[in-house]
Amino acid sequence: MTEYTAQELMACVAARELRDGEVVFVGIGLPNLACNLARRTHAPGLVLIYESGAVGAVPERLPVSIGDPALVAGAALVCGMADAFQGLLQNGRIEVGFLGAAQIDRWGNVNTTVIGDYARPRVRLPGSGGAAEIATHARRTLLVATLSPRAFPAEVDFITSPGHRCHGRSRRELGLPGAGPVKVITELAVLAPDDDGELVLAALYPGRSAEEVRARVGWPLRALPRVETVEPPTAEQLRLLREELDPDHLFLGRGAA
């Protein structure tokens, strides 16, 4: 049986969420890796858009930032950021928004701003960047994060990017155009919102248990009636990830799962 790291499986799970021909607003790191994996396997027509203004990018090397010159050379279009945010994102042209997160709560709200009080933070995080409006406008959002009780509290310290319910108000009440986070991909399992927008256990990685996940989540995590088991990576997916997409293991990690 092939061995793989948790990051490798996360990349494969994320890639499978993308359909051929879709338009994706891509964050750097694992989201970028997953998009390029999808493009090289089942979704060759995936259109990658970066908030830096690169549209239809076909990076020859793994970009280390969302403004990598490899995203520009060979892109179909490179525009200013006003056009990227207004003409593409706000104008409803983005099907999938793909975001990393430091903290995610029960309702899929994301915090990338501060741990602790905003005025006197214990940890100052980078802030929103493009995330707040990606989470607002993309027709659906995929989140990627590592499980831990601190990373998955019942309520985030600060709502940087809206999930399904913010301070008691639903996306509909808030007038948010997109559907919000439809999948939260972690290193043990996949969470998804139930009909009320509360995140529940949707799928487990091979060999993982619901209890392992619950121990790392800060609210009483419910589960879908039927929890799926995630398919392990194929040999071809692993080969692409290791040999072509991230040969220096910048984002994949080195230990086996």
Partner: protein
């Protein structure tokens, strides 16, 4: 057309255009970040600046560490792909914090510069609903659409005292061409009261005028032009040099240790006269980072 050259050197330009207490915008989204100007501002010991940028990046981490700023206006303060900006974090995590923050999302900063560049007092956008950003920033407000009644977000124009914009090339009057990632360079130039353009190459006006659609900034918005090759290192300039990712990674350790950061400033900012000396001390950079050749092809402007 008369010469009307605006070409000067960086020391003179910073001395004339950047004043204590100014709001300063060194723009460039990962691309075209004018580190040379940031370092010159540090060397000239400017104080009490309000630093504005979407992504403070290493350049503002360095300026914060050097004590140039009292306030930061921004939307994402990380070390892209490599970790934290630790001088920024130390200032924010101190009790009490030593840096005033005015924080938006990228789209909010983009909208603020759009308003500044368009000569409007505000810009509407669909954003911030459900987020906590308006709770901590009273400059994020709402406006009601006079047609649909829909409530939208509104942010105020950003009109910095000075904008410093790196670019590939300009003519002596300041007509400036940019390709690759455009970021908010054009809007920043039109929004600011004073504008300094720093370029890799000074070119004849005929080069600019052969491809006028490539011109991002018109001369009428430019106060000074400085020619400073490699002035954006460790960020990059499409067609000239690659991003120095090794340095971005190294910054994690340098900035984490205040003494290491101080030594770094002594060696690479205070300890060099200008960007020429900065580059002369690390001759291997040009070898490692110089761009390969990927030509755009040319088009015909005939009629």
């Amino acid at each position: 057309m008369p010469a009307a050259s605006k070409v000067t050197d960086l020391r003179t330009a910073v001395a004339e255009l950047v004043r204590d207490g100014d709001s300063v915008l060194i723009e460039g989204f990962t691309h075209l970040i004018c580190f040379a100007a940031g370092h010159e501002i540090i060397r000239q010991r400017r104080r009490d600046l309000t630093l504005c940028r979407l992504t403070p990046d290493l350049v503002y981490d360095q300026m914060l560490a050097a004590g140039c700023a009292r306030k930061l206006v921004f939307s994402w303060a990380g070390n892209p792909g490599a970790g934290s900006l630790h001088a920024f974090r130390r200032a924010c995590e101190a009790q009490p914090p030593t840096l005033e923050l005015e924080e938006y999302s990228h789209f909010g900063m983009v909208a603020r510069l759009c308003a500044g560049a368009a000569g409007l007092p505000f810009w509407p956008l669909r954003g911030y609903a459900g987020t906590d950003l308006p709770r901590v920033n009273p400059q994020i407000r709402t406006v009601d659409c006079p047609f649909t009644g829909e409530r939208l977000a509104a942010v105020p124009a950003l009109r910095p005292d000075v904008a410093i914009l790196h670019a590939q090339r300009a003519d002596a009057r300041g007509n400036t061409q940019i390709w690759g990632l455009l970021g908010m360079q054009r809007e920043a130039a039109l929004a600011a009261s004073r504008v300094l353009v720093v370029v890799e190459e000074l070119v004849n006006e005929t080069v600019i005028r052969a491809d006028p659609n490539r011109t991002a900034i018109p001369d009428l918005a430019v106060d000074a032009v400085v020619v400073e090759p490699w002035g954006a290192h460790p960020s990059f300039v499409q067609g000239y040099y690659d991003r120095d990712n090794d340095f971005y990674v190294a910054w994690e350790a340098i900035s984490r240790d205040p003494q290491a950061l101080s030594r770094w400033l002594d060696e690479w900012v205070y300890g060099v006269r200008d960007r020429g000396e900065y580059m002369a001390r690390q001759p291997e950079l040009k070898e490692r980072l110089r761009a390969d050749w990927r030509p755009s092809g040319e088009v015909n402007y005939g009629y």
